[in-house]
């Protein structure tokens, strides 16, 4: 029966409660006795996993607070767990400390604090849990880069999170130092990429080096654009960062290597605006492009086998007919879009706080109607209608 059988039940439980959810799921498969033990002691908090989508934060260029596009009916926590897009539970809520979401990962959200002390907040909007950390000390001589922060968090593996800080080159008009031609012509991304990584477990920043696998995409000069931080996704222990000129850096935090993934073929790389958007779904990492002029949507899935990584086209649709058939009308509050609702924080925040409360109440009343709408599926988005 193995050496573990000698131990008293409480000790065995003490061992298992240190094992992260993914490991506990494996323990249930070990034997009937182990499954009964894990389930009997409720060690696996199955109600919290897998994660479900409760909402999407959207950063609009002309609003300085992120909007929350949310679907209350879909949250596992059930009714009454309305997630607010307002981060007014952060310290100093009157300030703009709750402005824009910089990054997110598996339910945690990263926000930069407002003020001189260079503080960042990590929060869970569903539970209103808040943590904070400070930026790493700036590297000497780095005058021409922004440091973008990316969250790494997988509650199925660990309750801790990491933050990866990645340099992004400024556009020449944004900095005043002399142009060093040697630097401008050096290849990018570099053969060894040095990143700062913060761990919530140690509460320390650590400098880590990652060796490049695959070829460089261009030169430092090619990377200089005005566009702000692009997003990243975290999938099975690797962080995929959407970089300038639409290539993706796949950083494996468990190793000291990173892969360079080139944009899908058929994407016209433009210097100043991203042509693809990164995301993840059932089969891993995806990217999508939307051609605004023609409402053409394309979706690729990243297929990885060993060291080769390739974008495979999954969808290629024209949304124009669908959009014409399902006339979307503009009205406030935003309520005619099925179960999903936009909290419209920027609009209501400029008004009196009373109005603000009205908005929340209205949202609650609508709950039931929305669940119905979602179950008959009429208002669900589907590209098949196109």
């Amino acid at each position: 029966m193995g050496p573990l059988a000698r131990l008293p039940d409480d000790v065995f439980a003490d061992i298992l409660r240190r094992v992260p959810p993914r490991g506990l799921a494996a323990c249930r498969c070990v034997s009937e006795a182990w499954r009964a033990f894990v389930d009997g002691r409720r060690l696996l908090r199955a109600n919290l996993l897998p994660l479900s989508v409760g909402g999407i934060f959207i950063n609009f260029n002309n609003y300085y607070i992120s909007e929350l596009f949310s679907c209350p009916a879909s949250t596992t926590a059930g009714a009454g767990s309305m997630i607010s897009g307002k981060h007014d539970y952060l310290p100093d809520p009157e300030s703009l400390s709750w402005k824009q979401v910089r990054d997110h990962c598996n339910g945690l959200v990263l926000i930069r604090g407002y003020g001189a002390d260079d503080i960042w907040y990590v929060l869970n909007p569903a539970t209103r849990w808040v943590d904070s950390f400070h930026s790493p000390p700036p590297a000497m001589g780095k005058m021409d880069t922004y440091e973008d922060m990316y969250l790494v968090y997988d509650p199925a593996v660990s309750p801790d999170y990491d933050v990866v800080s990645v340099s992004r080159h400024m556009h020449r008009s944004d900095y005043s130092c002399d142009i060093d031609n040697d630097i401008e012509q050096s290849e990018w991304p570099p053969s060894v990429c040095i990143l700062q990584v913060f761990s919530s477990r140690t509460r320390q920043w650590e400098e880590r080096s990652f060796a490049r696998e695959g070829r460089a995409i261009g030169t430092v000069a090619d990377m200089r654009d005005w566009h702000k931080q692009r997003n990243a996704v975290y999938w099975r222990g690797a962080l995929y960062i959407h970089c300038q000129t639409d290539f993706v850096m796949r950083i494996s935090l468990e190793s000291d290597k990173y892969h360079v993934i080139e944009p899908p073929t058929g994407i016209e790389v433009l210097n100043f605006f991203p042509q693809i958007y990164l995301g993840k779904s059932a089969k891993g990492v995806y990217c999508a492009s939307i051609n605004n002029g023609r409402w053409k949507v394309r979706v690729w899935n990243l297929v990885e086998s060993g060291a080769t990584m390739e974008w495979v086209l999954k969808h290629d649709k024209d949304l124009l007919k669908w959009l014409l058939k399902n006339k979307l009308q503009y009205s406030r509050p935003f309520k005619n879009y099925g179960p999903w609702t936009l909290q419209d924080i920027n609009y209501y925040d400029y008004d009196e706080s009373d109005e603000d409360d009205n908005m929340e109440a209205l949202v609650d009343e609508e709950l039931e109607w929305r669940s119905q709408a979602s179950s008959d599926g009429k208002s669900a988005w589907s590209t098949d209608d196109a």
């Binding site: 298992l16 490991g23 494996a26 498969c29």
Partner: protein, 186 residues
């Protein structure tokens, strides 16, 4: 402990004699004797603290019939090392813990202490720590065993802990499907 200066030599002699009684002698199930500092024993083990306070300590060796000599040697070794270690700012696993009680992470020397043990010795030590009410040692040993499970497949866990698979293939598939999100389809 601070040495009280300014007292006579007689005092010093008395201190040496007292130092003898600063230890407790413990006797393993196979009759071997081990000495451990009374202070460390009382601080690290609720059971030994109770015995010391209750006067049930035998100067010729307190019988611990449930603990073998190898495990008892490790217990005593741990107590001595603990007394000599400088406590660092212990890491508390972050507040977004899976469970309500956050764990204090093992210190570097504690990791090394359990890493050198064979599986049998480790399990004997868990039992001894549990029997003696040594919360910290139990923490460190349980942590080590949990590390032996992390990131492993069910097959690998069975192999490490010598457990027989009593599922049929169909049952196993069903149980996997209950938590399909947890398994990478390799």
């Amino acid at each position: 402990m601070e040495v009280d200066k300014g007292k006579g030599e007689a005092e010093e002699t008395r201190k040496v004699a007292e130092a003898d009684r600063d230890t407790v002698t413990l006797k393993s199930s196979d009759g071997k004797l081990f000495e451990v500092s009374k202070e460390a024993a009382a601080r690290l083990s609720t059971v030994l603290a109770g015995m010391i306070a209750g006067g049930s300590i035998d100067d010729n060796g307190t019988d611990l019939k449930q603990i073998g000599s190898e495990a008892l040697e490790n217990v005593v070794d741990y107590c001595n090392k603990h007394a000599n270690s400088i406590p660092s700012a212990a890491l508390i696993s972050s507040s977004i813990s899976f469970n309500t009680a956050p764990f204090k992470e093992p210190e570097e020397w504690e990791r090394k202490f359990v890493d050198r043990l064979s599986h049998d010795a480790l399990f004997d030590l868990v039992e001894a720590a549990n029997f003696l009410g040594m919360e910290r040692l139990l923490d460190v040993t349980c942590h080590k065993i949990s590390e032996m499970m992390k990131g492993k497949s069910p097959d690998q866990i069975r192999e490490v802990f010598n457990i027989k698979n009593d599922y049929t293939k169909e049952e196993l598939e069903e149980i996997r499907q209950e938590l399909a999100w947890a398994f990478y389809d390799d």
